[in-house]
Amino acid sequence: MSRTADASERPDEMPGAAGLAGAPVVSFDHVGLRYGTAPEVLKNLTFELEAGSFHFLTGPSGAGKTTLLKLIHVALRPTRGRIALFGRYTERLTRQELPALRRRIGMVFHDRRLLDHLNAFDNVALPLRLAGRKAGGYAGDVAELLAWVGLGEKMTAYPMTLSGGEQQRLAIARAVVGRPDLLIADEPTGDVDHDMAVRILRLFVELNRLGTTVLIATHDRELVARSGKPVLHIEHGELRLPADAAA
């Protein structure tokens, strides 16, 4: 599964990326992560997510799901091994290149990370503003998406006035509004009811149909079973591919 580059060359792009068109969106090659001198929290992870794929990331609490997502979002750097995103090795990315790469990734954080001084509309519009789009150009899209996640009547509400479930939906809307090439979500349905969870899953599936690669970390076994999508299972920092959920 892994395609290890010649260490002596250390090119910026993965071998065979061929202009990045055929490269996997995410590639982990014997990746490990430790904090300081503590034991590794992620051990020897090797996997790829092909463009347009849809995976769930499952595992018990503390298994390393959130840490793995942070590595994909380049919020953390591995202490060993190599990670490639869209065909580019992350250790070769300069600080100037990182924002453009992150704008291709939609991230639903476990703690949501909403901006309390912005209303729902402005929170969702944030990625579009950062991408340089004008308010007049995205207002309709943002309003439509907010309506779709059930917050159409709360566009001017501030996060602190929303329930946990509403905040969760707001965070999801912010992550998907820019139609990212890669969507990673950390427990996106943890605070919503079953019907809303199904609705959110449909949104992710729809995005996936449009070409977005999706990776969702979840504890919701029913949701995983309902989707029929492949599963990456992580336990004690090690990746295990269930035989019945191979990509």
Partner: protein, 297 residues
Amino acid sequence: MSGPRTAPSQRPAALLPAEDARDGALVFIVAVLCFLACLSVVAALAADRAAHGWRTELRGSATVVVRPGPDETADAAAARAAEALAAVSGVDEVEALEKDKAEQLLEPWIGRDALPEDLAIPRLVDVELNPERPATAAALDAALKAARVDATVDDHTMWLKDILRAAFLAQVAAVAIAALVAVAAGAVIAFATRAGLQARGDLVSVLHLAGAEDGYIAGLFQMRFARLAATAGLAGAGGAALVTALARLAGGGEGLTPVLPVAWSDLLPLLACPIVAGAIAAIAARLTALSLVRSMT
């Protein structure tokens, strides 16, 4: 579940929230600094004006001290000196001061009726020079020697040098104070930027993770502090303009004091204060924010 799909009509909210209490204190401090800087600039202009006036006054005249010989009276010696000096090119007018006038000049130091009648007081000849082509002290001296008059020419060169040096030092001091105040304002803004960034680490983190570039985040702080400093600069310049105007009005035609004459035109440079304050704040905030943002995730 679906609601109205009309987007809010208001402009996008500022990504950097206002810090009301902290902003008020910052505006006050920068306004005071701008006020002091503006007064320094006015003082520098006034010192320049005063120096120019003194220079013109002193360069336009010379004083000749005539010592009468044993065979002639002081009046005769002064008259001969005046005659010789009047013929020199670059001299507009010559006046030999009468004995009474010479005594009047000594009166502030010696007092009235304190001089013995038989004391030989040197006579003074006041020479008014042509402002375009003034005669040199050497030319005046040569004319006096040619006329065999024992006299000393004082073209005020020694005084002029001291006065110009004093005026120059006053200007340098005023400009240095203005520069120091500008640096202090920059340091205050840098400190405020650092505090603002550290207080808003959560926001910086979210913006980073959402794909904002370092320059974009630094730009948010740069614009905010530039606006604050420009507002403070306006207030500081307004205060300084008020003080300058009062000084001008209180002192009549020569300003508050002839030593530092203030003119209405001195108010014009104060108009630049908000722009300069904004620019200094923008640079200080950007440099500080960039260095700090780069150290954040």
